[in-house]
């Protein structure tokens, strides 16, 4: 798990995942909050999870010169 923190896509995903959780909790606890928070939280959640699951692409094969 700790090694995951060396992977930038995971760190970015985790950030958006946490922000989406904060927004969801805020929606649940507040009386009047617009749909905008909800839709944004959904979008951030999907993006965050996708980034956390993504793997950094492997480096290119050595390039040919001719």
């Amino acid at each position: 798990m700790y090694k995951k923190f060396n992977q930038l896509s995971f760190v970015i995903g985790l950030f958006f995942f946490l922000v989406s959780l904060i927004l969801f909790v805020h929606i649940l606890l507040s009386d009047s909050t617009g749909k905008l928070n909800f839709y944004t939280a959904i979008a951030f959640l999907i993006f965050g999870v996708a980034m956390m699951m993504a793997k950094d692409p492997a480096p290119d094969q050595p390039e040919s010169k001719n």
């Binding site: 950030f15 958006f16 993006f47």
Partner: protein, 553 residues
């Protein structure tokens, strides 16, 4: 505008993450090369997004929304004329020299290609420019937070600078670059809901167009007559001043952005970095120009029931700079408001960290090492690089306070930056593509071009600015004046460099291999699919850019 607990929580999480990135990267920093140049180890997707993010500072985000409101869709010229072509040119033609020469910085390339004095001139002017830019960015952030949220100016300055200091000091360039990628996503995803909700509120794009005069929603149609378009520019001034001189001068020679491509893992990635970065750059007007156009439509009589207004300044004029903050305040509820404010902070911090990391590399490699302390251990230069990072932050803070005390210092510094940057591309163009150009030619060309810029500004007057020698020529807009100053300085540099080069001795061809186009073996890529290769990607991007210009003609 009042923030609630949820907003502060989101801001705190952001601060925690950017500092956390610094601590994670710290373990990987073993040498000065790791700290100042990331040891050329950064993957393509990160270098590309960092390349675009280094330019996505506050002046870009807030400034372009303001320009969208003031000049309308013509602001897209800063992207579809003033960026994509230069980025593609950098990737296809110039990166092989920057990367292939193994230079650690742009000034170092100038030393290899020309001589020490040309490198010194460029390094000193660049170091001064970046550190002052960083300070102005910091001042703008603190001022914005003071106006928007009533936050204390001093606290904003020291907290923002402190956070940037922590993560750049710990992880150097890699830390800054990683955070730039996080900041990129935060800015794009944090501001996208604003565009969607504001556009919906304004009744969609067709209704926005119906509210505005046609010259606000056509990019080219009214550029034939300076009096007919909001920018007050003729299309030839636009193409030469912005599309050629300023655009290529910035994207192809400014170490702040070029540095992001120079840290790629290999030549092909270095070339592809600005080209891949051009894809989000092409789309960026959706995030930073469209909101400005929507804002100006929302204040038209037919949409006044929406309740949105752009704040006015002391003279009763629209304060365009406040367009984006006022849109955020109007449309974002608590929670998302925290995301929006964090996105604004991210843009400021991204700009500041980019400047500081470029400053410490140039100062250490191009000023300290050659002129002050040569031939010391790598450990010594690592410590110096870290010290210079802190010094850069402290100078930025001092500049921010200076800007607070003297309102005109921002204008003055921007002006001086324009004088220095305007002619620079001529030096690189001749250096890379004309083997006969010499160090004396490059040096005196830069000096003459900078003086030419100052002279042109002193003889022209636009919107009350310039004309400090004698207001001989009047120009309609400040932007037009900037393009003309840059254009003239470029021409003076170009011809001075040629004339002086022709009467001075060039370097032997053996020393110019890998530094000049005609003497360098061109990289040819036969592996990979077409979309992984430099030239097909570049052609596709240029074609899409031309199509976008036609669609919004």
């Amino acid at each position: 505008m009042n923030l609630k607990l949820v907003d502060y929580l989101i801001i705190s999480v952001y601060f925690l993450f950017v500092i956390g990135v610094g601590f994670i990267i710290k373990k990987k920093i073993k040498s000065s090369n790791d700290f100042l140049a990331s040891s050329r180890s950064i993957p393509l997707w990160i270098t590309s997004l960092a390349f675009i993010s280094a330019n996505l500072g506050a002046q870009e985000v807030i400034g372009m929304v303001a320009s969208g409101a003031k000049y309308g869709i013509a602001t897209v010229h800063f992207y579809w004329v003033g960026a994509i072509f230069a980025m593609v040119f950098l990737g296809v033609f110039m990166m092989p020299f920057y990367y292939g020469s193994r230079a650690r910085s742009v000034p170092e390339y100038l030393r290899l290609r020309f001589d020490e004095k040309t490198r010194g001139l460029n390094a000193i002017s660049f170091a001064v420019m970046t550190v002052f830019s960083s300070g102005i960015s910091l001042y703008a952030l603190a001022k914005l937070l003071e106006v928007m949220l009533n936050w204390d100016f001093d606290v904003s300055i020291w907290v923002a600078a402190g956070i940037v200091a922590i993560y750049t000091f710990l992880g150097g360039l890699t830390s800054a670059v990683y955070n730039e990628v996080l900041q990129f996503f935060l800015i794009v995803l944090g501001l996208s809901p604003l565009v969607i909700v504001a556009l919906q509120d304004a009744g969609g794009w067709e209704n926005v167009k119906a509210q505005l005069s046609p010259n606000m929603t056509h990019a080219w149609k009214y550029m034939g007559d300076p009096d007919a378009n909001p920018m007050g520019l003729h299309f030839m001034s636009m193409i030469f001043g912005l599309g050629f001189v300023m655009s290529f001068g910035y994207w192809c020679t400014d170490f702040l952005v070029v540095q992001r491509a120079m840290i790629a893992r290999n030549m092909r990635d270095a070339q592809r970095t600005p080209i891949i970065a051009a894809i989000p750059k092409m789309m960026m007007p959706l995030i930073v120009v469209l909101p400005g156009i929507i804002a100006i439509a929302l204040i038209q009589p037919a949409l006044q029931s929406k309740g949105y207004s752009i704040p006015v300044d002391a003279n009763g004029q629209l304060n365009y700079t406040m367009t984006l903050p006022s849109l955020i305040a109007h449309y974002y509820p608590s929670g998302l408001l925290g995301v929006g404010i964090t996105a604004l902070m991210a843009s400021f911090m991204s700009g500041m960290a980019g400047n500081v990391t470029a400053f410490n590399a140039v100062f250490t490699y191009d000023i300290y090492q050659p002129y002050f302390v040569k031939n010391r251990s790598d450990r010594h230069y690592l410590v110096v690089g870290k010290f210079i990072t802190l010094a850069g932050i402290l100078i930025s803070i001092a500049t921010a306070y200076l800007a607070q005390g003297f309102n005109n210092i921002n204008d003055l510094l921007q002006l001086v930056f324009g004088f220095v940057n305007g002619p620079l591309f001529a030096t690189f163009l001749l250096g890379m593509f004309w083997k006969r150009s010499t160090g004396h030619g490059a040096f005196w060309g830069l000096v003459a071009g900078t003086l030419g810029a100052a002279l042109t500004h002193g003889l022209t007057l636009a919107e009350g600015k310039g004309g400090w020698i004698a207001p001989v020529f009047e120009i309609k807009s400040g932007m037009g004046q900037a393009f003309i100053v840059a254009g003239i300085s470029w021409i003076i540099n170009f011809f001075t460099t040629i004339i002086v080069s022709l009467v001075t001795k060039p370097k032997p061809e053996e020393e110019l291999k890998g530094l000049v186009y005609s003497l360098t073996e061109k990289p040819k890529y036969t592996q990979g699919k077409w979309y992984q290769r430099v030239v097909p990607l570049a052609i596709l991007l240029l074609a899409i850019t031309i199509i976008l210009n036609i669609v919004f003609f």
